[in-house]
């Protein structure tokens, strides 16, 4: 493998990993703070991609489409939390699994009713539709670099929000003791709604920005969901730092796996998960 080729795979792996982080961070936050397992998280990713496709074909511009779609996904997230998830906090995980499984079926059918079952493509925005030459005959698309940049910015913002702001302090306090936070006069219900909506918006946003790179297809959510479960298991539930480390690990492992050992590439992430389970059952950054 020569250096230019290696560099391209490295950048692809990092970009895929950073994108996974956007989806997985919402999942791990909702697990860690509300104690909810949400199988429908992949559906939000799918909804994001379909919104980007349909709004982009309406407005003719992906950036406008994304700006329009983000408020919609935040509203969707808040509505779901208020109407459904709120009733599940005190319930056994079993019912959370069942409810969110039902929700996946509903999302898939609504998608089929609204947008149909066809596979769609979204054009790369003209402004970013260029490539940077790496070696004499290899170049790298600007759009992928832009995605990586946006994901890194969002990760930094998320870190700042949770670790450095007052709201982040309340979120962290709510994760460790709900009753205590409530008796201090903090509206924990509102915080839960916000965190859930944030998770939905992050997953949907990942679907939107990735739409030009992969086609927009039915069932695109389920693959992402399972990979994100593996990310959360490896990183440790509730740990955003762990989600970042595990996302990059999985992103690189899958990208290089597909190039070096394509026959068993699909299994690599699960083997990684099994190794982590034997070594550290609560994940790399999880609390025992």
């Amino acid at each position: 493998m020569d250096f230019g080729f290696f560099l391209i795979q490295l950048l692809n792996g990092l970009q895929y990993g950073l994108l996974l982080f956007l989806v997985a961070s919402g999942l791990t936050l909702v697990f860690g703070i509300m104690g909810i397992i949400n199988l429908a998280h992949g559906s939000f990713y799918m909804v994001g991609a379909y919104l980007a496709w349909s709004l982009a074909s309406m407005t003719g511009n992906l950036a406008t489409a994304i700006l329009l779609a983000i408020p919609l996904t935040v509203i969707l997230g808040m509505a779901l939390e208020r109407l459904l998830f709120r009733h599940l906090y005190a319930r056994d995980h079993l019912y959370q699994v069942l409810l969110t499984y039902g929700l996946i079926l509903v999302f898939e059918e609504l998608r089929s009713l609204i947008w149909g079952d066809d596979v769609h493509g979204v054009a790369v925005p003209a402004l970013l539709n260029a490539s940077i030459p790496l070696t004499d005959n290899l170049s790298y698309p600007v759009y992928r670099l832009a995605i990586s940049g946006v994901c890194l910015l969002l990760a930094a913002a998320l870190y700042f929000l949770i670790q450095k702001t007052r709201l982040g302090m309340m979120i962290r306090a709510g994760a460790s003791n709900r009753e205590m936070v409530q008796s201090l006069g903090i509206d924990i219900k509102l915080i839960y709604t916000l965190v859930f909506a944030l998770g939905v918006a992050l997953a949907a946003f990942a679907g939107m920005i990735n739409a030009p790179l992969s086609s927009v297809t039915p069932n695109m959510g389920s693959h992402v969901l399972i990979i994100c479960f593996v990310v959360v298991v490896i990183g440790g539930i509730g740990s955003v730092k762990g989600a970042m480390a595990a996302s990059l690990l999985i992103g690189l492992a899958e990208t290089f796996g597909q190039v070096l050992i394509p026959e068993v590439a699909g299994m690599i992430v699960y083997v990684l998960m099994a190794v982590v389970l034997v070594w550290r059952p609560t994940g790399l950054f999880g609390k025992a």
Binding site: L94, V97, L98, G102, F229, V230, E263, Y270
Partner: protein, 328 residues
């Protein structure tokens, strides 16, 4: 209900079900066969969810693995003998459940749900991406297994009625076996672990070994149903291992009422009938194609308002309080 009736009810039900092929021989017989096969599957999951307190979202792995085992053991257009292929399929599932069980049982709660799901998905990719079982197209099973004693054919499984009786026998046997096991001290210990794992450990029970035994047994029994399902359709593809399948069987267990065994049977009956009704084009026209929408809403309603399932509903009508579930 008086206890004598309750004791004889299973025999009565099985007896009545055994008479069914005499009145009906085509469509509804095959549908009922499907219900009974799924009932075995649902009972095996109930052992985990309802009696051991382990919520597995990857139970389709063992169902699908046995189906693929049958497909791979069937030599082309010739029939394979059921006498060794069924035990072999069960043994493969037991082995896979033992190995995955040792890994997944290191985790609890949400982790357990995600890890079981991930391992099932791993198996999905094994069959989807490699040529082993025909890749994403799947594989046909051209001949149903044979049941011969010497040269005499005991049962001809190509005949729907005889296949139905075999399935009914295996369903009843699974029910009886689980009933026996759950009534034994082993079953009592499992229930104890479900209610309070730490207390059982403090009492000196090897909790991990009990859970692993339960997990392996559940995987093996799911194997029986997967073997039968593959035989019924004459076809396997990766979708039988998918998490939709794991979700459907979990719904059957909850819909019927978990922790009651017979609830799993009622649940699979109700689920498959619902599926048939909702996807009936004559009744719902164009909406029949989108039957999963109604099913999804129904699943959510059950999760929200019917946590004890249909069995819990019957119990409420008989105004007997259900035993408190003591999860976490």
């Amino acid at each position: 209900m008086n206890s004598r009736l309750t004791r004889f009810l299973p025999y009565l039900v099985v007896g009545l079900l055994a008479l069914f092929p005499l009145v009906e021989s085509t469509f509804y017989l095959q549908l009922l066969t499907k219900v009974l096969i799924m009932a075995i599957f649902a009972m095996s999951l109930d052992l985990l969810v309802g009696y051991t307190g382990l919520v597995s979202f990857g139970h389709a792995a063992y169902f699908g693995l046995a189906g693929y085992a049958l497909a791979l053991m069937t030599p082309g257009y010739e029939a394979v003998s059921l006498w060794w292929s069924l035990p072999a399929a069960i043994a493969i599932c037991a082995l896979f459940a033992l190995i995955t069980g040792m890994l997944v049982l290191r985790t609890r709660g949400i982790y357990f749900i995600m890890v079981t799901m991930a391992f099932a998905q791993m198996l999905y990719f094994v069959f989807h991406d490699t040529k082993l079982g025909g890749g994403s197209d799947g594989a046909y099973i051209y001949a149903k297994p044979s049941m011969k004693l010497g040269d005499v054919e005991l049962v001809n499984l190509e005949k729907p009625a005889q296949f139905y009786w075999l399935v009914l026998f295996l369903m009843a046997a699974t029910y009886a076996l689980l009933q026996r096991i759950l009534g034994s001290s082993f079953g009592r210990a499992l229930l104890g672990i479900k209610v309070n794992e730490h207390r059982m450990r403090a009492l000196g029970f090897p909790v991990f070994r009990y859970q692993l035994a339960s997990f392996t047994l559940a995987g093996s029994l799911a194997g029986i149903s997967g073997y039968l399902a593959a035989m019924q359709y004459g076809f396997v593809n990766p979708e039988i291992l998918s998490w939709h399948q794991s979700g459907a069987v979990l719904m059957m267990v909850i819909l019927g009422g978990m922790g009651t065994l017979y609830g799993a049977v009622i649940g699979s009956f109700a689920f498959i009938m619902l599926q048939e009704v909702l996807s009936n084009q004559a009744w719902f026209g164009a909406w029949a194609k989108h039957w999963q929408l109604a099913m999804g809403i129904l699943i959510m309603l059950v999760a929200l308002y019917l946590p004890q399932g249909l069995a819990g509903l019957f119990a409420r009508f008989r105004s007997k309080p259900m035993p408190e579930s003591a999860d976490e």
